[in-house]
């Protein structure tokens, strides 16, 4: 019996990710174009960044005419979790994962791709990871393109309602663990409270910086009050 190639295995694992990405990036495409970006710019952001939260906040920074420093810091804080995932994945790579492969595959470390790759049995090969990344990225950029292109054609009632899609996904990520662990609930509530306070009490602070400040402050509070032991941090 012929064994399926590692690339194909990865590609198959990537299909559910691609379907999820398709609809979320559709929302991103609409959001980016309605914020004043061209379809090509929205497409390029998705192709080069491959991340939902960072892209959404990045578009807001562009739309509000923020500085490049703000843009860099926003991306750093929002996406720093990928460093942790990259670190964790790096322990699992097989011998064929040479330095050039690592440079290339690093591009595709997202929450969902990390989840699939890190839970795969055994070691991780470049081919498998490329399979997952290729299919997932295709879904992400296609959705962005369709959303950006269709956004203007859709009735206002639909396109405006789709503006909430990305935020709905964020809620779906943070609420289940917050319901199960009081330390996460604390961090989530603290961040939301601070962000609301900054928004209404300090309106001159831009959205990007508010996310950085509140995100770090709530995480520091969490780390001080509820330090994580090794096993818990793995979850």
């Amino acid at each position: 019996m012929k064994k399926r190639s590692e690339f194909l295995n990865g590609a198959v694992s990537g299909i559910p990710i691609a379907l999820g990405y398709l609809s979320v990036s559709f929302g991103f495409g609409i959001m980016a174009v309605s914020a004043g970006l061209t379809l090509f710019e929205a497409f390029m952001i998705s192709l080069t960044n491959l991340t939902s939260a960072g892209q959404a906040q990045g578009v807001l920074v562009i739309a509000s005419g923020g500085t490049l420093i703000e843009m860099a810091l926003v991306q750093l804080v929002i996406n720093i979790r990928y460093s942790l995932m990259a670190l964790s994945l790096s322990q699992k790579l097989d011998k064929s994962f040479t330095f050039p492969h690592r440079l290339l595959a690093a591009y595709g470390i997202t929450d969902e791709i990390f989840a699939v790759c890190s839970t795969k049995e055994g070691t991780l090969s470049p081919s498998y990871m490329y399979g997952v990344i290729t299919v997932s990225t295709a879904g992400w950029v296609l959705g962005t393109f369709l959303g950006g292109a269709a956004g203007e054609l859709l009735p206002k009632a639909i396109s405006s309602a789709l503006g909430i899609v990305l935020y709905g996904m964020f809620i779906a990520i943070i609420i289940p663990p917050a319901g199960k662990h009081k330390n996460i609930l604390f961090v989530v509530a603290a961040a939301a409270a601070m962000s609301t306070a900054v928004h209404y009490l300090l309106p001159s602070v831009s959205g990007g910086f508010s996310v950085i400040l509140c995100g770090i402050a709530a995480s520091v509070l969490g780390a001080l009050i509820f330090p994580q032991k090794d096993e818990e941090a793995e979850k």
Binding site: S83, A157, G168, I174, A191, G215
Partner: protein
Amino acid sequence: MSIAIYILVMAGVTYIIRMVPFAFFRKKINSVFLKSLLYYVPYAVLSAMTIPAIFYSTGNIYTAIAGTVVALILAYFDLPLIVVALSASAAAFIIGIVFGIVPL
């Protein structure tokens, strides 16, 4: 400022964040504080990004509140990301139409 430069900075920073630990890092982080901090950052950042921005995401605060409530309830019951996200959007759409807030 040119949008291309913004995109370059976005993509560059995001890539470096992924690449450096993946390609170079070989040691384990031992500081409990640092590990805890990294563990909490995604939750804190997503929460700060979502609240209060979600209430302005549909252009109307009432349709946005409807979407938020639906998302919170479905997320609490651990439904898949995509179900939660699209249901939030559907709720905002329906409230907008039913109450004539947003013209079809």
